[in-house]
Each structure stands twice: as structure tokens, then as C-alpha cells.
Amino acid sequence: MYSEKVMDHFMNPRNQGEITEADGVGEVGNPTCGDIMRIFLTVKDNIITEVKFQTFGCGAAVASSSMATEMIKGKTLEEAWEVSNKAVAEALEGLPAIKMHCSVLAEEGIHKAINDYRIKHGLEPWVEKNPHSHDHHGHEDETCST
């Protein structure tokens, strides 16, 4: 079902953990839907110097968090904002169609963490260019909208 890359990131997650004094924190998902992702950022001079994640979710959710944090580490906030769920999925050598929403979670988690940082620093939060419809399980669904 999963690519080797997904399994590698699932078995050996990069950047797993918590930053206690994080500059930005983003949490997305909903335990009722079986997925929660929390992203912690340390930002120095507009650059993400450290990033950690905590994830409650499936293999794809864990692997997406791991890969996404890898991809934004060392990037400027602007660059990190541009990392799309598709890019995460591609870097993982693909995800099963029914698991694409798990990578959306990673993109949204990063966006939330960045905006958390921006708000804390008195900056205008950026707006989602292509807001995902929160259809975390591939269907229209109220209970799982976060």
C-alpha cells in the first residue's frame, strides 16, 4: 500500500517531538476523525531553524509530518508557506488516493504554525491561497471539519 519512502519516514520519523518554547505552533485535525497533527517552529531571522511534530494518525499522516518538517527546515517562512501537500506526497513517492488528505493535514499544520508565529509577532496572518475543503476523508463531512 505504501511506498518505501513512506514506510521509511513512518518507521524512522524525522523531527518527531515537541519544542517547549516554540515561536509558532499549529494544530490541525480532529481526534474524532482519527487524525491530529501539531507542528512546532523555531524561527530566527525569518528562517525556520528548528521544527518538530506530534501526530496522532495513520502511517501516511506520520510520514507526511516527518517529510513536511524535513522540507521546511532551514527555509524562509515564505518558502515554507509554498510547500504544498502535493509536494509532500511527491517527496514521499506518492500516497494512496484515499490518503491524500493526510498530506493536506501537514500543509495546513505548517500554515497554522506560520500564522501563529506571525500573529504573535503582530504580523498579518497570510491567507490560504487554495483552501482545502477540510474533506479529510475524501468526502463532504461536517463532523470532521476542523
Binding site: Y2, M7, F10, M11, P13, Q16, G17, E18, E27, P31, T32, C33, G34, D35, I36, M37, R38, F53, Q54, T55, F56, G57, C58, G59, A61, V62, I98, H137, H139, D141, C144
Partner: protein, 397 residues
Amino acid sequence: MTAERIVYMDHSATTATDPAVVDAMIPWFSKGYGNPSSLYRIARESKTAVEKARSQVATALGAQPDEIYFTSGGTEADNWAIKGIAFANRKKGNHIITSAIEHHAVLHTCEYLEKQGFSVTYLPVDETGQVRISDLKDAITDQTILVTIMFANNEIGTIEPIAEIGKICRERGVYFHTDAVQAIGNVAIDVVAMQIDLLSLSAHKFYGPKGIGALYIRKSVRIDNLLHGGGQEKRKRAGTENIPGIVGLGLAIERAIARMDEQNKRVSALRDRMLDGILKNIPNTRLNGHPKERLPGNLNVSFDFIEGESMLLLLDHFGICASTGSACTSGSLEPSHVLLATGLPAETAHGSLRLTLGAENTDEDVDYVLEQLQKVVIRLREMSPLYADHKKRSCNV
């Protein structure tokens, strides 16, 4: 990523075909291949083999051979029983009663019938997964033509009060079908004493081959055909008979019944030891299903703060085969409808793990699973934001 060791604890999903059963099937592929509908010798031999298997199945259920019809599995048997009764008895009434925790083969068939104008009552279950007899009594109306309630549940292993249900249905003149796919070989069944009118079974759940099952239909039950065509199975189920499959089913059920008591004792002892170990070693864990009235090999536990699919992936890495009620493996929105029906919050249902033990499991398997499972749960909890919150809450008290 290869595990040295494979521990199969998913016997409710399917079982390995018993090698003795395979051996009994082999001659019917390339040697005794005659079509039982023909009249020459090799065809008569096939026919005899089919009839022997029919007797074996009948004996296992306390039925008569001519009340047994072979199908392609449990799904077809469930579809046939429910649709067949519904369409044949439409003039008598259009109401069907089932439970909220049936297998999809029953639930989706009932939903299909709702679209065809039938009305279906889905009885709730208590927190152990049992239907309440008083609910059933209240639900039966003069429009009710069928009650279909499973013998034992495939996820939580709960055994339903079948004899009581049978009694009420017979008294009220309503047909009673039970999906006994999980029960065969695990629970003693007597269709006469239990007043069962129709019963579904599937060979691959009791060490028989996949793709073959049977429907018991009590004599005089009014039922339509599901598959139309040739005159096989006394004109009730068309299609060239799957002789090797039928022979395999017959032997598998005979063997399952013969070893039932001894195996149940052994397997339930293993299961109980595993449960004790889990509850003792892993905090924030609960047993799902009935504490006593459950299938001997079934263990269903929920681990707070973690999700089932990732548990399965890690367990697989260590060679352990298990299953979960998490939505993430189902491809659908909702976690297990069975766990939700017992009142479990969705969050907890996502963290459920089903381990179903069977013939080949040993004491060493239990030790191994206990050891690996504890590591897996710790590892996943360490990456879980829910567990982080929980720890903080506990420290701040």
C-alpha cells in the same frame, strides 16, 4: 524490513486452509472433475462427494442434508437469505429487523432493501455488544417478515442470545436468520434447538478454503432465488458446483466441530493471558465487547491516544498480523460501526486493536506479542499530541 517471525493473530479475517483439507480437495481438480449434473461415472462421483459434504455441514448444525445449500461464501449466503426472504414474503409484510453491529454483508443488504421499499429496524446493542431481548420484542410488528441477527460479532467477538431470539421469532411467526460466519467451530450450534430458520457460514473462517460457504434453509421456508440459471442445488442456487471447495468445506467443518471444545479451551486461555498482560503492562487501555460471552479467540482492546493503522504497521514490521476498527484503514469516514454502537467514542474506536487467536498460536506467540505491543504503544504515544496533553494534565494535577 523483514521480520524473522510471523505471528498470525487475525483469524477472524481469514484462516490458513488446513493442509489436510487441501489434500482432500486436490483429487477433485484434475481427476474427479466431472460436472455433477451429468450422468456418467466421473460425474456421479462428483455428485457423491458433494452430497457427502452436504451431510457433513448438516451434521455440524443439527440440520438435515437437504436443508443445506452451497454458496460462494458468507456474503452470498447473507445476501441470499435476506433478499430471498424479503422478496418472497413481500405480500406478508415489508419490515425487517437487524442489529446495528452486523457485518456489512447484512447491513448493506438491508440498506439496499430500504431503497426497494422495505423498512428496516436496526436494534441498538448494550455496551457489551448484545442486543436486548426486550428491544427485539418491542420491534416486531405484524409487518415483520424477518429478523436477522448475527451469532457472534466479527470485531468484538460478542455472542448474541441466539436461542432466546429464535424462541421469540418462532412464537411471533417471523423468520429468523443468523449470520454464523464467525461462530462456526467456536460455539456449539443446533438450528433445531435454537429455532433458527436460516444460517450463513463461510469455510475460510474455520480453516477451510475461500470462496465457498453455505446457507441453511429450514424446510418449508419461503425464499426466492438470488442466482438464476441452471437447476443445481435443487433449483435453488444456479451455477456449476465448486466441487473441490465443497469437499473442503465439508471436511473443514467436520474437523472444526470435532476439535472445538479442546481448541476453545486452549485458545481462550491464551487469549485471557494476553488480555491480562495488556491491561497490566499498558495503561489507558480497555477491553471492548463482552467480558464473558465472547468468541474464544477474540481480543479487542482500545489504546488511548494512538491510532489503529499506525499500530498495525508497526506490528506488521515485527511480523504480527492484526486488525483495527480505525477509520484510517477502512477507506471510509467513520471508525468501526460496531465499536461506535457499543457507545465507544470515535476517538477511542480509532485506537482499537483486534487480535484474534486460532489453531496455530502458542504461548510463545502471546509472549512475543505482549512484548512487541508494549513497545509499539509506547512509541506511538510518544509521537502523539493527545498523549502529550494527557501527560501535562496528569502532571499539573
